[in-house]
Amino acid sequence: MTQVSMTVNGKAVSGDAEGRTLLVQFLRETLNLTGTHVGCDTSQCGACVVHVNGKAVKSCAIFAAEVEGAEVTTIEGMANADGSLSKVQQAFQDHHGLQCGFCTPGMVMSATALLGENPNPSEAEIRAYLEGNICRCTGYHNIVKSIMAAAGQDTSKIAAE
């Protein structure tokens, strides 16, 4: 066991971690930040995406010790300072971009990272960017639409609700 320290959602935190402790385990079990989910064991599903120093990272594919000293943001840190939903979160609610909610934290983290890199992505760019995020519920229609809306695009022409 070694002591690992980092900043999570703006707060300095530290805790014990074995060498093999994954960042996602550290977040969920040590810090009790259970919004970050685990959907696979092969780094394919993206349910575990968080931001490390501003970049989207799969927290199941990185050890806690590797992010020593880093700035980590999880889904729990995404709402605005006044507690209201962020633009991406609000767009997901407005456009029914989630159903069971299990993939949702990862989707929101990935979508936020995408819009950081590319504030006005095309439909194709969004779909390509979500390559590493699997959703089994929504058929992606409303996720893509939510992200387009969060980018300020007019989504009223997209087929049906």
């Binding site: 064991d41 599903c45 390559e131 058929g139």
Partner: protein, 789 residues
């Protein structure tokens, strides 16, 4: 116009806020003080005799609490099957024992052999490696047709063969169907495979068992679509725990799609071990483990024959299906290829004679059970493929052939024992023609051709049976449970309401849609109403959520309970207003004496019920809480017409979905936004089945697709924006909301149109390809275009 937040409004979902902020509470988020962790050591051989298990080294390891084996469960019941099918000869199906941990033999890769309980998952996993297993490998059966041959290795030595049942439906029609096919003007025959799928809800299964010695009560937290069913099956059949000492909680559940209906061995294990060890015990499946232990779906092999007369009227239909049960009978497995499949073989058509034969077969594979649609996608796929093939063989327009044979008069009693109450199949076909812009297809095809791509159009109709179902009927058909549902409406003194329901929401948005109904009935704001679900201690006994039944069955119970509330509230209002009960009207949350301006508000009436100072105590009890159980009179019959346009790359065989349109008739609709979302999700799963997904086994019974590296889940760039419409509405005639259910339609209706579209593209380009089995991978499509090359 729908009232704000009432029936018909596209109200945004209230549950979203907790999911979007990381505040959802899923089973894996629950840690009970003092809990230990269990890891299951699973068989990596498909079929073997267990000659010995040496756990002594493992038990000595740091952090290990105890290692359990099958011997520890000899006195414990078998994991039960909830449905008994009777075969063609009137005999009960063969029903093998399904132990919690394998005993004597292992029967599929993933069969649990040992359960290692330790202080941490890591310690449990490390200890698993120190267990010495002496397994004697036996020949495995994987192929269903091989499995039923004489002399095939038996999955269960105590059974006479690997044939679970040989079911005929309707057996009395058999001779007439044979005769009609023999004498038909034209018969179209098709042999096809409905590929094995893995449901893959994104949340893997989790179970936490807890035991409270002070009141001898067990609690199981589990990822379930139906906590009451789990309590019933596990309490009564496996562990012998009376209901009042067993609480099952299914909190937020990350998708189910059928595979979280069933009672699983791991649930029984953690419940049993928590008492045995006097420690809470937690199990969290890894995804690889989920592939080997969640019940799979589909896996049928079918031969279907459609007979037509000289005017292209369908005259008879005959099918023979082999349905894989896997190594054990999962909870509802026997019902899927029979009552959820055979009864749907009429589809949207007035075929007068139908005979369905189904042979259910045990193999050394993971058990197979209901997956989104359950039997109905298999029925729809065969039927809509054979109709399309017939149109091609006869050189007629596939839409015209369908329309000509549509059922147009309702109610309609099919030759396969169900009665459709309402529907309008021409209306959904008309709507499809419009939203899919079918008239623009030829122009789009030319444009694709100009880019060197082959374009195809495929379509299909579907009918499904939802809202399962009248309990007396399913009892006759072999169900070992009733299929009603229940709701308790608890009105608080200040007028806010908690509705406790037997249905379970794991993505369907009940917490938003159900209050819309109650709000509409009473005329108060939906924000005053909360739904409570997923906990047997807090909800009345309901059968849970599957088969698109929540609103049709549990919603009806909620309506009935709310009606009782309104009736009682009117009596209280009459007393307060000094009027007679019959003169009281309720609108917009105000009780008014008809024809007067005398009124009293909802909140005043509810307060009077709990502070009964001025109250008709001699006539009615104080308080305002009512429960209703609702047993449906019939199934509901949603229907629709779907169209898919694909492009095929002739160089690589890769198929791209260019357009997908779905015109559905779900009867009345409570929240159109949620309904569209349900259809979208179903479409992606159907497109996944048609193009990408396949759970493959090798001939030794090794599962080849056991992770997302080798099981192709649909991703965002595999699917298009869909065009969905549900404006065609023929309300259900036998439930109070007139609703039919929408959860499975997309998955049922989409695979045939995708396959029909690809075949259209290939045939239009001069390739004579009568059929291809799903999934239509690039290599399969390329091979079809390059036969003999």
């Amino acid at each position: 116009m729908p009232k704000d937040g009432g029936i018909g409004a596209a109200t945004p979902r209230r549950e979203d806020v907790r999911f979007l902020t990381g505040n959802g509470k899923y089973t894996d988020d629950i840690n009970v003080r003092g809990q230990a962790y269990v890891h299951f050591l699973r068989s990596d051989i498909a079929h073997a005799k267990i000659n010995g298990i040496d756990t002594s080294e493992a038990e000595k390891m740091d952090g290990v609490i105890r290692v359990f084996t099958g011997a520890d469960f000899e006195a414990v019941g078998s994991i039960p099957c909830g449905w008994q099918v009777t075969d063609r000869h009137g005999e009960a199906m063969q029903e093998p024992r399904h132990p919690v941990l394998a005993h004597g033999k292992v029967r599929h890769v993933g069969d649990p052999i040992c359960a290692i309980v330790a202080e941490t998952y890591e310690a449990a996993r490390d200890a698993a490696e120190a267990i010495d297993l002496d397994l004697e490998e036996l020949p495995a059966v994987v192929d269903m047709k091989e499995a039923v041959k004489d002399g095939a290795p038996k999955v269960h030595d105590e059974l006479t063969s690997n044939l679970c049942y040989d079911w005929g439906f309707v057996e009395d029609n058999r001779a007439a169907v044979d005769e009609a096919i023999k004498n038909a003007h034209h018969v179209t025959t098709l042999e096809l495979v409905n590929n094995r799928l893995v449901a893959n809800p994104m949340e893997p299964r989790v179970a936490v068992g807890d035991y409270d010695r002070s009141d001898e009560e067990h609690t199981l937290y589990t990822t379930s679509q139906n906590p009451h069913v789990i309590r019933l099956l596990m309490g009564a059949f496996v562990l012998g725990i009376p209901e009042h000492k067993l609480r099952v909680v299914a909190p937020d559940v990350g998708g189910g799609f059928g595979t979280k209906i069933f009672h699983y061995a791991e649930e029984a294990f953690v419940t049993f071990a928590a008492k045995e060890l006097n420690r809470p015990v937690k199990w969290t499946a890894s995804r690889s483990e989920a592939f080997m232990s969640d019940a799979h779906g589909r896996d049928h092999i079918t031969k279907i024959e459609l007979a037509l007369d000289k005017d292209n009227n369908f005259t008879a239909l005959r099918t023979e299906t082999y349905a894989n049960m896997g190594a054990y009978l999962s909870t509802f497995a026997p019902s899927v290829p029979t009552w959820l499949h055979g009864t749907l073989m009429a589809g949207n058509y007035k075929t007068p004679l139908i005979y369905v034969n189904v042979k259910a077969v045990f193999t050394n594979t993971v058990p197979v059970d209901a997956y989104r649609g359950a039997g109905r996608p298999e029925a729809t796929f065969q039927l809509e493929r054979v109709v399309d093939k017939a149109a091609r063989e006869l050189g007629v327009d596939p839409i015209a052939l369908r329309r000509q044979n549509f059922i147009t008069e309702f109610p309609y009693a099919t030759p396969v024992a169900v009665e459709y109450d309402t529907g309008d199949y021409n209306a959904t076909m008309d709507k499809l023609t419009e939203i899919a812009d079918l008239s623009g297809f030829e122009a789009r095809r030319k444009e694709s051709e100009a880019r060197g791509k082959l374009r195809g159009l495929g379509l299909n109709c579907y009918i499904e049976a939802c809202g399962i179902a009248p309990s007396n009927l399913v009892g006759q058909l072999g169900a070992r449970a009733g299929l009603y549902d229940a709701a308790t409406v608890r009105v608080n003194a200040t007028g806010s309401i908690s509705v406790m329901v037997g249905a379970h929401s794991h993505g369907q948005g009940h917490e938003t849609a159900f209050p819309q109904v109650v709000a509409d009935m009473i005329g108060i704001d939906a924000s005053q109403i909360d739904i409570v679900h997923g906990d047997t201690a807090r909800t009345p006994f309901g059968m849970g959520t599957y088969g698109s039944r929540s609103l049709a069955v549990c919603g009806s119970a909620m309506v009935k309970a709310t009606e009782k509330i309104i009736n009682k509230a009117k009596k209280i209002a009459a007393h307060l207003l000094e009027a007679s009960d019959e003169d009281i009207e309720l609108a917009d949350g105000q009780f008014t004496v008809a024809g007067t301006d005398k009124s009293v508000a909802w909140g005043d009436v509810t307060l009077a019920a709990y502070v009964p100072h001025n109250y008709p105590l001699e006539d009615i009890e104080p308080g305002l809480e009512e429960t209703a159980f609702y047993d449906p009179a019939n199934f509901t019959y949603p229907s629709g017409a779907y169209a898919c346009e694909v492009e095929v790359d002739p160089d690589t065989g890769k198929v791209t979905i260019e357009r997908f349109a779905a015109a559905d008739d779900f009867g009345n609709i409570i929240n159109p936004m949620i309904v569209s979302g349900q259809v979208h999700g179903g479409l992606a799963q159907g497109i996944g089945q048609a193009l990408l997904e396949n759970c493959a086994y090798d001939e030794d019974g090794q599962i080849l697709s056991a992770s997302y590296m080798d099981y192709a889940m649909p991703r965002a760039d595999d699917v298009p924006f869909y065009s969905v419409d549900h404006s065609c509405q023929t309300p259900c005639t036998h439930n109070p909301l007139g609703v039919k259910g929408c959860g499975e339609a997309g998955a049922i209706g989409s695979p045939p149109s995708v396959v029909n579209a690809v075949l259209d593209a290939l045939n239009a380009a001069g390739h004579d390809v009568p059929h291809l089995d799903m999934p239509l991978t690039p290599s399969k499509v390329w091979d079809a275009m390059n036969k003999g090359a």
